[in-house]
Subunit: 474 residues, 3 copies
Amino acid sequence: MTTATLPLALHDDRLFSSDPAQRAVARRLYAQVAKLPIISPHGHTDPSWFAGNQPFANATELLLLPDHYVFRMLYSQGITLDALGIPRGDGSRASIDPREAWRLLAQNFHLFRGTPSSMWLNHVFHDVFGLRVRLDAGTSDQYYDHITEALQQPAFLPRALFERFNIELIATTESPLDPLQHHAEIRASGWGGRVITAYRPDPVVDPEHEQFPSALQMFGEITGEDVYSWNGYLRAHRQRRAYFAKAGATSTDHGHPSAATANLSPAEASKLFDKVVSGKATAADAELFRAQILTEMAAMSLDDGLVMQLHPGCFRNHNHQLFERYGRDKGADMPLRTEYIQALKPLLDRFGNEPGFKLILFTLDESTYSRELAPLAGHYPALFLGPAWWFHDAPEGMWRFREQTLSSGGFYNTVGFNDDTRAFLSIPARHDVARRVDCAFLAKLVAEHRMDEDEAAELVVDLAYNLPKKAYKL
Amino acid sequence: MTTATLPLALHDDRLFSSDPAQRAVARRLYAQVAKLPIISPHGHTDPSWFAGNQPFANATELLLLPDHYVFRMLYSQGITLDALGIPRGDGSRASIDPREAWRLLAQNFHLFRGTPSSMWLNHVFHDVFGLRVRLDAGTSDQYYDHITEALQQPAFLPRALFERFNIELIATTESPLDPLQHHAEIRASGWGGRVITAYRPDPVVDPEHEQFPSALQMFGEITGEDVYSWNGYLRAHRQRRAYFAKAGATSTDHGHPSAATANLSPAEASKLFDKVVSGKATAADAELFRAQILTEMAAMSLDDGLVMQLHPGCFRNHNHQLFERYGRDKGADMPLRTEYIQALKPLLDRFGNEPGFKLILFTLDESTYSRELAPLAGHYPALFLGPAWWFHDAPEGMWRFREQTLSSGGFYNTVGFNDDTRAFLSIPARHDVARRVDCAFLAKLVAEHRMDEDEAAELVVDLAYNLPKKAYKL
Amino acid sequence: MTTATLPLALHDDRLFSSDPAQRAVARRLYAQVAKLPIISPHGHTDPSWFAGNQPFANATELLLLPDHYVFRMLYSQGITLDALGIPRGDGSRASIDPREAWRLLAQNFHLFRGTPSSMWLNHVFHDVFGLRVRLDAGTSDQYYDHITEALQQPAFLPRALFERFNIELIATTESPLDPLQHHAEIRASGWGGRVITAYRPDPVVDPEHEQFPSALQMFGEITGEDVYSWNGYLRAHRQRRAYFAKAGATSTDHGHPSAATANLSPAEASKLFDKVVSGKATAADAELFRAQILTEMAAMSLDDGLVMQLHPGCFRNHNHQLFERYGRDKGADMPLRTEYIQALKPLLDRFGNEPGFKLILFTLDESTYSRELAPLAGHYPALFLGPAWWFHDAPEGMWRFREQTLSSGGFYNTVGFNDDTRAFLSIPARHDVARRVDCAFLAKLVAEHRMDEDEAAELVVDLAYNLPKKAYKL
């Protein structure tokens, strides 16, 4: 690995085909979308950043420690989480100088070659911080100091970055138990940035969530409903959904192990719920309960208009030892094979043809793009496809998404891009990658005479801006 | 969406790579196949068209109402089937002016951007009807009138189009209960067009088909066999297969939910059949029965020489409400994950090495191309691979088919193109797309020096013409 | 098919993109790796070749009969194994002139168009034997005579070819029952070629292997351990692993039907083992036993440092009739859908975070690349990804491997190329294809400005030479 100081550049034509005919079209298409405002309808930024508007601490705290994408790769090559100073589950933390942790990233930055992380980080380094040399062992301190100092400047406060990034709207994701205080503070502050929430009920709908019993209790306290009866529990959801909608939410989000849905009678559902709250639910009961909840949430969406998002198929916290020591969200989540055609039928039998209902589907199982998701979205009025998600949110993954959903689903059953990130500084980079990939994809269709360029020019603006606004009712 | 009148063109190089080296080769290869006659060995055109040779009614009746590919996309965006005038299951139909239905297509034609439907329709508009402006809201009436008037001209009668399309042979698909009268009329008419049938026994072999009981009864009446005894039932199949073969059939076709085959003893099969005809078969019995039928059909193919086709893995009529109201075939069929290696073993254990037996496999599960289908076809003498099917019958899907079957299966275990359509006018467009994609695919291999151009030139003719004739014994 | 004498050439730019920008980069990258020594850490060449250094018999014995890739394609098109002179299971063999068998290959060489076999064979014909006309019916005898005569020359003896091929190291694969005599002879001979073994225990760890009972008995005789007790059995493995390591082995290799692992207590494992040796194990017991063995092997690897390889997901000898008549390894092995996330968890729960443990994963199910394998390897320190395997060891398959593992796994969790072949003469061709595909893949990333060329130049050397040496501890 070289340690010489080498230039860092973002090429204007990055991600466009090297074929001159395609590249020329891609450039013209990109000119239509490069400067459009960012619509970020699904993500995990922390609303306290925008409420408090305090400076970020340093390069390591901002760019390395919260980003699974980044530290999982270092971990995979034998760098321990303690060596990076990742907080442990018990709140303790190895005493590591953040500058030294940063050095581990710098020394191993070659591991990210070709990955989306390297594209996003280099974009941040170049465009946000104005760095013009590459990150490596020799430039590690220069990077650390430059970034850490910059973060103390007013121009790098969260709200200033929000504005500089040209974010028209960003959605965060909160539990039903969240008082949404930060969102209230943002609105009360008079600041013009639009930060909305989304209703993510996992802890109160998943009997296998480790916080389920305590979360359910708090759910009752917050809502004043008898959440240990099925009808009271459903009323509590309705109440909190209305509260979220009032705070700006236009969507709900559901992260289940599978896409299973169910259509139990009220009596059956009530009986199952009793078993769940009694703590005697088997794994199959828990799965059925989650399945029924999706259908209940769809019913509520029909009433309150919240757009429903389903993010299924993840085995959370797969690394047992790491989970025991460091807790959740340590880069050990793994995709699972996921089935949709049978799984969604109970819900679709009830609501699939409802004009007022929208369900946006995601997947970690790309084999379903052409086989299941595009055929479903290309038929059911209620169904739309979310963009390439998580492990697939890279140029190759986005390209496969388009290539495998186009034939049956077209472009207009998709909803534009989600950055789905807590890495705030990378948001412009991520949207830029998505826009470039769509431009490159459409440029190929134009250059191979499957679409006229004026159609592509209209379409690329729809994908970058109009479709997300329409799909998420923004 | 624009409403200006914009030109419609079919570029000579469409679907060829924009790389000049590849494009030049693709053009030369395409020159070998562009004007070859069409062999259509598997499809769903209506033989009454060629028997009666009556004019098609109007643009909507011809191009919109019968085409799932088209109206499912409109439906997915909230346009009801009633708004299009799609007939309901009870025979009634919303009173819709077909000109207005056409307008819905025209206004929403942007939904099809990049899809195969837009390619096929534009090809039909341009080449069959000579239209030179794009379809949109502003040209809707012009289109409707132009097409509807043209259809009254002799040059647009079914037989004239058949000849103009340079169709050397087309196969339709009929139930064993069909008297094949239209085929007889065609042969008796003295017209030279070659229209043959194929034996598609679904209603009499699937215990879960809603018409199974009545179909079985009619099967007995037509054949004079005791179709409620296993041996009589098998004899009835043999008799009808012979009848179909006499009417020109060279193949059978089987559309099962899975690829399961079985190899029961005659006693076991007979016992299972008794259960099936008694109406007491469980879902598992029905699956086993269909599995056994495939093996029985293979045994008969060995005797009568009919080539066997298997189209598995479709969940028919997934949209319950739509099925209740409008019946079958309303764009709500969905692909299922499909397994072949274990499923086909019972049949292959008996017939996989038989020189006289041919089984052509299709799939809606592309993940099986490289994992299962190509390895099977690249070993078993009896197995061949049908082309990219249905949801995958698009340039991207065809490309994936080639790219994922080439390594283990080569080109010569594939059987050329099937249009598999009831959209008669689109047949030249579909074959043209398939030929262009194969030319583009081979041009890449030539340009990357993996094959010499003379080999590709020979191969592309084999793919377009010789392989289908050989595979289907035409 | 032509029978004229047409030139055979290997183009310098083969497998590089025809886009001039990409091709120029690919050429420069390839210049870095074209002449690097071959590291072949996993394969199936016969060590007796290098021990005895006797001439190969003739073209057919060398290039056709041992190569599944080749004769399976001929078989798929109706050429019987007897017509080729393939030995039968009982040791008999059809009396076929090898020149006539070769003619069948020559006459049907068009079947291989576009496949890796044609690339490898043409490379051997051109570079190893200096042939400059294509193989076809007209040149069959010329080929047969030229190759067969060449094989009698000293320059074509196994050791001379080994040196000419610039092989720095080759690993073979042996059963624990193998005395490793050929390896000892090679070392004793004073010849400098480095030929090492690998520990492949399938016959003594798979209760469903037809040789399991006799293999177990011999395992006891060789090691002097009581291999009918669980602890004695484990000691026997440790002893043989040490013996293999002393003979140069740095790895073990495991070919299981699935990737299942287990984590039984010693008491449970011992009880299961008793059932297995009693011959009363069910299919589920056998699967659980193999699963437990993988975890035991991992535990031993932690002690003795042997790198573990897992090649799961193959249905061996799928063609029953062929297996009965000709035995194993006749081109009838078929890939199976394979699951890793749940299957590997028991083993990973114990050893996934161990710094001293390495497990290299392979697959025949490409749908797992992006969904399971890259996410696993991009997190667990113990896990690495072997290259595109067997049915996927072709340019398209290699390209998909890179494209689908890059995002989550990067390049540095992969281990370079394995040729995995018994076709000795094709080894340079196979490594050349792998190097060219990696150069082409990286050239695309460079030309699309996702990586600088100096990074790609370093990376391509890592992929071709440094990563395999490091991964396999060579």
